[in-house]
Subunit: 366 residues, 2 copies
């Protein structure tokens, strides 16, 4: 049976249903880091209306969507490229840039490495150390970058560590990168799910920095992983080259309509911030208080956790919780992590309580 | 303003609305070759239901969709790869095969050439001659293929000529291709819109021919260009390699649900055949009877037409009809064609009548 790369990621309810012999609906899914507020009000109605547009080809220029994204991000439409999820933007970015060497701080989202390798790049990893809460030493990272690297690939906030680089640190890296002709790519898939939200974004630096490219997604913030909608922001020449390589109609009409609508969901973003601020700290505190667990301080809507007791590993914990209808992300397949680590999303209070109780039971029982 | 490749294709209502200063809805669109029966019964309701699936990631294996496609095509699911429209399948095919030389009979759909070039291939064209009704001399094509060609790319029925190669001719080509280790790719995007429908398909040859790959689409037959759903059928090793290169979630949940449903729309396919049989011949006859026009015999739901009188060219005709709310496809940008050629879709009788009347008027007025 052929298997594509999605198999290795969180949120694979099909697979969980198979393994644990349950309906997809039976799971509380902490393995995918999706906004638990559900889809924004009005999106359902809008999508129903958009069905009438199925008999037309999408606009190959996606003018409407790009216009709304320009308003949402404060960047001109010519610097914006929509895509079939952030995954398409990342793949297309590497296919267009064709970097010889890509530097990737890790542990991080595995798609960067896989997409870069498929585009012919050699990968250099920069280890994010647990002792430093997975924060890179910026000068050290800049020095590594100066060693003949064409592209520095950052995930900010970083998945799975939930750590965040501040604009001043990123500004320094981008400036240093400019000196050695390195493209800095920042995947901001979770940026609206940090405290401060888009204030942590480097989008506003794009007009002044030709060597900066930002990847964004609707998936996490608007709870629409089934929609497949992402976008890239960069210098106009490079965006034009990407658009030339891209297939003519990468985003379907329903996703394009949804995207136009979601950029205006300001009230939803405010509710998200209000929920996240309290809930993230609450869950972090509760997880850290469970004997045998260490939680790393989260900057986004997910938390990396370490199993301190050597006996129970993340795979076993995943299986035990799965049987009880709770899905966590075993983080063993992230580079520099191992079977002592797992990742959980921050969900609503009732779900988070249930997770905490089950974890407490499993660790006590062991 | 960055423009992607979709700009050059038919069905660009956004562009037409801009040029002719009309609403999209004001046009009778003969420029896109879409089934005029509209979307099948029940699809609207099914899509409304599928909205609830947006908060889940798609199944990265697309098991449900592949299972239904296996029933629809009679080929095992392991030989089937779904994609974000046939356009993604074609691009991914060339990126995976990495052919050095691709032989493309032309005039044909321009995406083959563009995707193959982006994957690093050199293109050889094989001219389809108007005098032979755009049918290739098969022995001659096979001889050309034997000259160090890695891949023969066919469109069957061919767009824009509406000509069709018969299974016996294709079987011969595939056998010859096997001897010189050439992959034969057949884009069957319009196969269900030929008389005989899937009886003209080469899908059934796939299990016995490792060097055969078929591209299929939902777009034309089910009137869903806004959905973006296509698939490829080939030998399992090659399909696995394509799936490995493909992004994890290429098809959104609504498109995947729609695809599962549409493979069972047998009654719709029967109605389509009944409409097409009569209407295609009717329109062909009427177009051919207009002084100054020559229509080429259509095997699919579209007709290539030549302007015999040297004064009015296809660009001008396109503009004159556009002002009156009728869109045709100026075929001047197809290789080996020029501004004497245009293409029209076969639509419902009332629309076709209007097209014929308008064409008659424009040619008489000139």
């Amino acid at each position: 049976m052929p298997v594509n790369r999605g198999y290795e990621h969180g949120g694979n309810l099909e697979r969980a249903a198979e393994i644990f012999q349950k309906n997809r609906e039976a799971f509380l899914d902490f393995s995918a880091n999706i906004n638990p507020l559900g889809i924004p009000d009005g999106l359902q109605e809008l999508l129903v209306q958009s069905i009438s547009r199925l008999t037309d080809y999408p606009d190959p220029e996606y003018k409407g969507l790009r216009r709304e994204l320009a308003v949402y991000t404060g960047i001109s439409a010519g610097r914006i490229i929509p895509g079939n999820g952030a995954a398409e933007i990342i793949a297309l970015l590497f296919q267009t840039l064709k970097p010889k060497r890509v530097l990737i701080p890790a542990p991080t989202f595995v798609e960067y490495e896989q997409s870069a390798i498929l585009a012919g790049a050699e990968i250099r990893h920069f280890e994010l150390r647990e002792a430093a809460s997975f924060q890179p030493e910026i000068e050290e990272l800049a020095a590594e970058m100066a060693q003949g690297v064409d592209c520095l690939m950052l995930c900010n906030p970083n998945n799975p560590t939930s750590s965040l680089l501040k604009p001043a640190e990123l500004e320094y890296l981008i400036r240093q990168a400019g000196r050695c002709r390195t493209m800095v790519v920042i995947d901001e898939a979770f940026i609206e799910l940090t405290e401060g939200s888009s204030a942590n974004s480097m989008v506003k630096y794009v007009p002044a920095c030709d060597n900066l490219f930002i990847v964004r997604a609707f998936t996490k913030i608007f709870a629409v992983p089934g929609l497949r909608l992402g976008y890239g922001i960069g210098n106009q020449d490079f965006i034009d080259r990407m658009r030339f390589r891209q297939q003519p109609w990468p985003v379907n009409n329903m996703a394009a309509c949804a995207g136009e609508y979601l950029t205006k969901a300001r009230e939803y973003l405010a509710r998200t911030s209000a929920w996240l601020k309290g809930e993230k700290e609450w869950l972090y505190g509760r997880l850290g208080a469970i004997p045998g667990l260490k939680a790393f301080p989260p900057e986004a809507n997910f938390i990396l956790v370490k199993l301190l007791d050597g006996a129970l590993d993340a795979g076993e914990l995943h299986d035990r919780l799965g049987k009880r209808g709770i899905l966590i992300r075993n983080a063993a397949n992230f580079r520099y992590l191992n079977d002592r680590y797992f990742r959980v999303a921050v969900k609503d209070r009732a779900s988070n309580l249930r997770l905490v109780e089950m974890l407490r039971e499993e660790l006590a029982n062991y």
